[in-house]
Every structure is written in structure tokens, then in C-alpha cells.
Amino acid sequence: MTSAAALEMTDPGFCAAAITPQPPCAAVTQIDQAGLDRLIAAALFRLRRQAHFAGPLGAGGHKARQIDAWLQTAAGCLRALARPKVAQQTLAPHLEGDCVILPTGTRLHDAPAAETLRRGGRLSLYLLSLGFDQRAAFEWLGSDYMAHHIQSELSRETLFALGREARARGLDGAPGNAGVRRIAVRVEAAPGAPRLWDAAGVQRLLSLIDDGPHGVTMNDSGCFQPLHSVLGLLLAPDRAAVD
């Protein structure tokens, strides 16, 4: 552990940068056009096999032709506008019993994660974004609501494809990602409302990734801008333990 282990962080409102030494900057990877084409192809493949698309596409006729045309238009929209990127920041969490305390003060009650970290595991924060605005997409599509809806569905799948590819290529630096898992951040912001989205907590996490090159922001309600963005935590075991 770093010197952060000696620090007490009980107020989740603390500024992480002020109390915890972090690696100087996040590694941001911009996906090139060939990579984007690959992601879109993967997303189209998945979308086409989902029941709500596979049914009408398989039935043929004008429904299939129209849906196929929308998918191609949506793909063109993404090719023109999307600038996918992946950012990753290694974190230096504080451990307290079974609790992992993030540099932002957010407490994760996760005994296996705490144990993995004690054994030399590494916790990192990742950010994925398609890097384009939905308003721009709507304009690109000539304010066509129907095409815009299909574009939204394709964008969502493309974001998932970006996540899969980033992970396969060692988002966390662990070869083959053996033993890597995502960490669930369970927030209990109010009694009886355990699933309430803690926008301020996520904003604080986002602030740990340098806000220069990735271009993703979050409003006070917890909406990412650009919309098709994901922020998450990955836990990788000690590489030597994996090898």
C-alpha cells in the first residue's frame, strides 16, 4: 500500500487529490477509425441477433429493408461523429477491515476485494466514452426521430463493444485479465433507497481521472456528457499471483 493507507477518510466530500497521492495522470487511449469500424461491426452483429431486431430482419420484406437501412444510417452517423476513448487511472485505496475506501472517501464493503488488495492487487478506475453528443447525432440524422432511436441502440452496443475490446487488450494491465473483476459500488444514500444513484460520489470518482484529454463531464444529476460513457472500477489480482 502507499502512504494513503495511513490516512483516515471518513468524509466522502473530501477532495481526493488533496489527501491521497495519485499517479500523475490517466492513460487515455483514443481509438482510431479502423478501431471504430471494428467496434461498430461488432455492435451491429450483436444488435442484429437480438430478438427485437432479429425477428423483423429475419422476416424480410419492407420492415427488414427499413430497419436495415436505419442500421446502416446509424453506423454512418457513428463513423462520422464517434471518437471513442478509454482512460484508466490506478487508484490508491485505503483499507479498513473488510472495507475498501476509495480516494474520494466512498466506502466499498467488499471483503474479497479488500483481501485481493492486501495481497498486492490493483484497483483502477476506467472511463469509456464514444465521445460524441446526442444532439449532434440528431442533427446529423436530419432530426429523424426513428433513425435517431436506432442510432441510440447502436451506440449503446458500440459502447459495450468498446468495453469488451478495452478489457481484452488489457485495460487494467493484467495479461489476459485473469482474475480481473468489476467492483460494484453499492450506494445507500437514503434509508430504503439503496439503489439511488449517488451523482456526487460518481462525480468525485470522475474527477480522479484528469479532466483534460477525455472530455467527459457529469452533471449534478449524474448524467454523463457525452451520454454514451461509462465509469467503473476494476480490481486486478497481483500479477505474480496470477502467473
Binding site: 419492407h62 446526442q134 426521430y145 426513428m146 432511436h149 436506432i150 444529476s221 448524467c223
Partner: protein
């Protein structure tokens, strides 16, 4: 006159999403001097309503509903100028937006399409819409206010909008979205709730009927 068979074909073409046939039949109706407002009310809107029922019952999914909406729009594009010239009134004037802080538009856009397909005049106010913007739309005559929210953090804003228009007998507020249900809609005093896009159309119709 359009034959009954033509009307049946028009009805089926909308459900089937066959835009070319819809356009052909509506053009034929226009050239024959058929009452296009009547055609819209008697054949086209019920057809789109049937598509909504199929969607709500899980028999068709969103892409098929979109194809039907596109076919319907092909007919409306022809009919609209005639309706404007003849002073025909729309089914009602509705404004819609995702509430302040919410940048999601996917559900709201589906409702826009379904409302237009049901003959309503819809002003789409976009996302992250402030109360003042809804207020301005109401002043322009859009007395039915539809609110959409996808996040637990933004659904509270719906209550603020409902509170804002409380006491306005000429305004009705309909709510919907992934995080909203009938219980919540009732709790905040909304006038209507749509659990999906066709449900929103029903809710709008019900509040308008209650106002009449």
C-alpha cells in the same frame, strides 16, 4: 371515394409498416377529394393505436413500431397541408421534455413519435428542460405537459413541475419514464402516467377527455 377495401389496405399497411402503400393510398384519397381529416381519424390513427397495443402486449418490438410510425408519417406528410388549409384542429397540443438535469431522450422521443402518430400537435422541448421552458410552451398553447425522466436523481424534478402547474385548471401534466410508476405519479399529483409510449398516448387522451 376510397373503397372499404382501400381503407382496409391502408389500415394494414400502417400496421405492416408499408410506407409506399400508405403514401399511394393517401395520395389517391387526396386526389379523390376524400375528407382527409376523417380518413386520419377513422383509419390511420386507429391503425397506429393498434400498433401501440401490439407493442404494449409484447407482440412487436420497438423497431417494428418505428417502421409503422414511419409509414404513418408518410401519410401525415400528405394530409397535413390539407388539414392546415381546412382549419382542421389537431387532437390536442402537447409539449414534452426530459426534465431538468436529465439528458436522456430515447424514451421521450418514442413518445413524441407515438403522439404525432395519434394526431397530436407536439412541441419537443428536448432534454434538460427547465420549468420556465415548460411554462413558455404552455403560454404558446401547449396545455398538456409531458415529462420524462430516466434517473432516480431527476424524477424529483417532476414533482417540482407538477407543483409549478398546480392550480392551473387549463394545464395537465403527464409523467413517464424508466424510474416512474403509477404510484409515484399519483404521489406527486400528476394528472396522468404512461408506462410506455403507447401508454403515454392513452394518458394524454384521457386527461384531454377529462378536461372537455
Amino acid at each position: 371515394m376510397l373503397t372499404e377495401e382501400d381503407k382496409d389496405n391502408l389500415y394494414d399497411a400502417i400496421i405492416d409498416g408499408d410506407r409506399d402503400t400508405v403514401v399511394t393510398l393517401v395520395q389517391k384519397a387526396a386526389s379523390l377529394g376524400v375528407d382527409l381529416g376523417g380518413l386520419l381519424q377513422e383509419v390511420m390513427i386507429p391503425a397506429m393505436g393498434h400498433v401501440g397495443e401490439l407493442f404494449s402486449s409484447g407482440e412487436v418490438f420497438v423497431p417494428e413500431m418505428l417502421v409503422a410510425a414511419r409509414a404513418m408519417q408518410g401519410g401525415i406528410d400528405i394530409i397535413e397541408p390539407y388539414l392546415v388549409n381546412s382549419g382542421h384542429k389537431s387532437a390536442g397540443k402537447v409539449c414534452i421534455g426530459s426534465v431538468k438535469g436529465d439528458l436522456h431522450d430515447i424514451g421521450k422521443n418514442l413518445v413524441v413519435m407515438m403522439l404525432r402518430g395519434a394526431g397530436y400537435e407536439v412541441e419537443d422541448l428536448g432534454v434538460d428542460v427547465r420549468i420556465e421552458t415548460f411554462e413558455q410552451a404552455v403560454e404558446r398553447g401547449y396545455k398538456i405537459v409531458c415529462l420524462s425522466a430516466l434517473l432516480t436523481t431527476t424524477k424529483g424534478e417532476m414533482r417540482n413541475v407538477v407543483e409549478h402547474f398546480r392550480g392551473r385548471n387549463d394545464v395537465r401534466v403527464v409523467v413517464g419514464g424508466a424510474v416512474v410508476n403509477q404510484i409515484y405519479a399519483t404521489a406527486i399529483g400528476a394528472d396522468g402516467f404512461g408506462e410506455d409510449a403507447p401508454g403515454a398516448v392513452k394518458a394524454v387522451r384521457q386527461v384531454l377527455e377529462a378536461m372537455a
